[in-house]
Structures are given as structure tokens and as C-alpha cells.
């Protein structure tokens, strides 16, 4: 089973798999995950 989230958020740093957690702090959306990473309920996928 799979869950797909599609959401609108303030424009932020485009996610880069190489950069991982190093997003620019431009006040927009920032990812907090990497591809293939295991997550659990309640952990942050990203933040504004």
C-alpha cells in the first residue's frame, strides 16, 4: 500500500537527492527526508 501526498506550500529549495538535508533557508518549503529513507508516523517530512 502507498500514500501519495500532493500539497501546496510556499516555494522553497528544490529537493536534491545529493544535497539531502542541506536545503537553502529561503523561508519556503524544505524537505527533511531522503529517497529510500524509512519514516514513522509523526516524523517531519519537511517544513515551511
Amino acid at each position: 500500500s502507498t500514500i501519495v501526498l500532493v500539497f501546496e506550500a510556499p516555494k522553497g529549495q528544490r529537493p536534491s537527492f545529493d544535497e539531502g538535508f542541506k536545503g537553502e533557508r529561503n523561508g519556503g518549503w524544505r524537505w527533511n527526508v531522503k529517497q529510500g529513507m524509512k519514516v514513522k508516523v509523526g516524523e517531519a517530512l519537511g517544513f515551511v
Partner: protein, 428 residues
């Protein structure tokens, strides 16, 4: 029978060549007829021809031979059979070793399971849909974070450009195909398809309810919310959104962004008062795909505080959604049965789509008791809707829609708090 088998003489004779040629000729004739019928039914769907299709076209995805073989299998029937099988009661003394073996194979952490006595689970289906001990999944304290809705693995994430979602590198599918047509369509209290409306237990909030920003309001389902609490962040003063730094490099893509936003019916004029921040902030659409493995906790939760306005049920196929098939079957998420929940959060549009799979075809939404997934009745209703649409000369939308406007007239939908359990995937 024994003597007949022993004493009957078997004589082998060569099959005449003419018979073989005749067989091949008939087979070719059958293939040509099938192709013509297929073309004719496609013509009917686009308003041409006189005949009528009897049901929806079966999905024939392109892909390697494994996918082709899989597409010939009755996956939904198999899924239902699998569900029935897993509902069979396991003998009492086999439950603990059975569930422990399952946990060992699929990596279930039994110390997190709310029920320490595994005898309580009568079958695998109930163990699969287990709950967890309170406090084992703490919510991220950052109020501006989007939380993981489930235990799982991040398969893909990114930004949506030109309305396309990337499944794997270079393979994309359109947002329209995933979520259905996203043209402006104000939710109406009535149902647009054969499925009936939302949970009748929702409390209704009258027009006379007036709220202040710091006041508790909307006792929806017995839960009170404050506005900052509902939108998980500080409420803008005087209804004005907080100014965000503008990214100058994004101006070149402003027109395409505007198109996407227009497609999503999120033009500034149509924005309700409770999503004010997006009006002045440049926004983009993002997506994230989370895969739940068989051993994972299979209930899902709300990632943010948001309002669900409507749901669309696509009664598609039930291919496996394993990472292998996600890589090999393009547009997998647009083929499978799924429930698309559409709504709004603090920054604008928000959608949440649980996608079913062969082993877990049943999607449950806690606040929508009318929803039935992986059901023969729903499939029949979808077939009927497809035929009716074809008879009207219209394309079949592919989904049945219900709105949650009745849940709260004030919010225009069903309110969910961050971390709140929304539903789950069940076996079969």
C-alpha cells in the same frame, strides 16, 4: 476404472497438417474479430458507433512481460479471496507462534503493539490492522512541519511542474490522472455519482456561529478547535498573511505556476477566508510518495491540520505497489484503486491519496462510513457509470465523488487535526 486404464490400448496418430492449418486460420480470424470489436467499443466511448460497451475497459498497461502477465490476472478477485482467507480464525494455540513468525519475517516490532497478548487477535487480518501503544509515535514539535502520515519508506518526493508527478526518474504521470479532473467544481451537498454521501454522524455548525481567532469553535465530532490549533501555526494578525521572502528566480515560471493553480481551482478570488496565507506568498505544488511494507503499522494519520472537502473513489485495478513494480509499471498510482481526499490547509491545496494494492485492497476512512473499496458492488456501479457516460457520449470521469460539506458548514468540510488517525489499509 483400474482395468479400463490398464487394458485400454492407446494408439498414437499424427495430426493431419490440414487440421493444424485450419486451427491457425480460425485463431487468426478470432483475433481479427476481437480487434474489430475493441475498436468499435472505443468508438462508442467517444460518442461514435451504435453499439454500447457493457462495462469499463479492462486496464492493459504497457510494460515488461511480468506486468503483462499480471494484467491478465483477476487481481481484484484474488485480493478479495486473500481478504477472506485472512479472516479465517486461527486456532488459539497457533496464534502466538504464527504472529511471531510473521513479525520475524516482516520486521514487526511487537513491543510497540498496543495489545501485549497476541492471543487476542483471532486472525491475521486483525493483527495486520493492529493499533500501537500510546506515545510510541510522538509528533514532531515543529508546528510548521508536515508529518509522516504512516510508517513506511519514502519512495519519491519533489515538486510538481507542469502538472506532472514523477514516479521514477523520467517516468511521470499527470496530476489529472492521479486526482481526477481538477477543474473548478464547488462541492455540493449532493452526490455526483451512485455513491451516497458522507458520514451522517457529523455535527452541523449553524450559520449563526461567529468566532474569534483565539476562540474555541466548531465542535466537530465532539472536538473543539481553535484557529491557530487547527492550522498548526500562528494565525495572521488582522487576517493578513505573514510576508514571506520572494524567490526572484521563480518569476520565469510564474505563468506555468499560475496555470497549475488555476487548474486546481485555487485562484485568489476563489480562496476562502481560512486559507489566507497563499494569497500573497508564491507557492508551488509538492508531492511525496510513502510505501508501506507488509510488516508496517497500516493505519494512517493526518499529516497536518486541514479540512477535507471531498473524496473521489477510483475503482481501478489492484496491482502490487512494491518498489519493483513502481519502477517497471508507468503510472501505477493512476491505475490502482485509490481514494483521493481533497481539501485545504494553511497554505492552500492539500490532497491525501491512499492507493490500494493486491494484498491490501481495502482502504478505510474513519470519517466516511459509506465508502466501500475493493467491493463487487462498487465495481458494478463504476461499470454502470461508464456505460451511462458512454451512452450520453461523454467520457467516463473514472471516479465516484462525495463531499464532506455536511460535516461542518462553517469549514466546508471535515476538519482533521495533525496526527489524528484517519483510517487505514486492511487485508483483502
Amino acid at each position: 476404472l483400474n482395468s479400463a486404464l490398464k487394458n485400454t490400448k492407446i494408439e498414437w496418430k499424427p495430426i493431419p497438417v490440414a487440421l493444424g492449418v485450419g486451427f491457425l486460420g480460425l485463431y487468426q480470424f478470432y483475433r481479427i474479430q476481437r480487434r474489430e470489436q475493441h475498436t468499435q467499443s472505443n468508438g462508442n466511448e467517444s460518442g461514435e458507433g451504435n453499439g454500447r460497451p457493457e462495462k469499463r475497459e479492462r486496464i492493459r498497461p504497457s510494460g515488461p512481460w511480468q506486468v503483462q502477465i499480471m494484467s491478465t490476472l483477476p487481481l481484484k478477485a484474488l485480493s478479495r479471496l486473500w481478504g477472506r482467507f485472512n479472516e479465517l480464525e486461527i486456532p488459539y494455540y497457533l496464534r502466538v507462534p504464527g504472529f511471531k513468525l510473521y513479525s520475524f519475517i516482516f520486521g514487526v516490532n511487537l513491543s510497540e503493539v498496543s495489545e501485549p497478548d497476541l492471543h487476542v487477535y483471532p486472525n491475521l487480518a486483525s493483527f495486520f490492522y493492529r493499533t500501537l501503544k500510546p506515545g510510541v509515535r510522538p509528533l514532531d514539535p515543529n508546528p510548521n512541519a508536515i508529518l509522516s502520515p504512516a510508517d513506511g519508506k519514502i519512495i519519491q518526493f519533489g515538486i510538481i511542474e507542469h502538472g506532472e508527478v514523477e514516479q521514477v526518474k523520467g517516468v511521470t504521470y499527470s496530476l489529472d490522472a492521479l486526482l481526477g479532473s481538477v477543474r473548478p467544481k464547488k462541492p455540493t451537498p449532493s452526490i455526483t455519482s451512485s455513491e451516497s454521501s458522507t458520514d451522517s454522524t457529523h455535527a452541523k455548525v449553524g450559520d449563526e456561529d461567529i468566532i474569534r481567532a483565539d476562540e474555541e469553535f466548531a465542535k466537530v465530532n465532539g472536538i473543539s478547535y481553535t484557529l491557530p490549533n487547527l492550522f498548526s501555526g500562528p494565525w495572521p494578525k488582522d487576517g493578513q498573511p505573514a510576508e514571506m521572502p520572494t524567490d526572484q528566480s521563480t518569476s520565469s515560471t510564474a505563468s506555468s505556476e499560475a496555470e497549475v493553480r488555476a487548474d486546481l481551482a485555487l485562484s485568489d478570488a476563489s480562496r476562502p477566508w481560512w486559507a489566507p496565507a497563499s494569497t500573497k506568498t508564491p507557492t508551488a505544488l509538492y508531492y511525496c510518495v510513502i510505501y508501506l511494507a507488509p510488516g508496517d503499522y497500516h493505519r494512517f494519520h493526518s499529516p497536518v491540520s486541514w479540512v477535507v472537502e471531498s473524496r473521489r473513489h477510483f475503482a481501478g485495478e489492484l496491482f502490487s505497489v512494491s518498489p519493483y513494480l513502481q519502477r517497471t509499471l508507468p503510472g501505477l498510482f493512476t491505475l490502482n484503486e485509490r481514494v483521493v481526499l481533497l481539501g485545504r490547509w494553511r497554505w492552500g491545496f492539500f490532497s491525501y491519496t491512499p492507493v490500494g494494492a493486491t494484498n491490501v485492497g481495502s482502504i478505510k476512512i474513519n470519517f466516511d462510513r459509506e465508502l466501500r473499496t475493493n467491493s463487487l458492488t462498487t465495481d458494478t456501479a463504476a461499470d454502470r457509470a461508464a456505460v451511462e457516460a458512454a451512452a450520453r457520449g461523454e467520457p467516463y470521469s473514472g471516479f465516484a465523488e462525495a463531499t464532506y460539506e455536511g460535516a461542518s458548514r462553517l469549514l466546508g468540510g471535515h476538519a482533521l487535526k495533525r496526527g489524528e488517525e484517519m483510517g487505514g489499509f486492511q487485508l483483502g
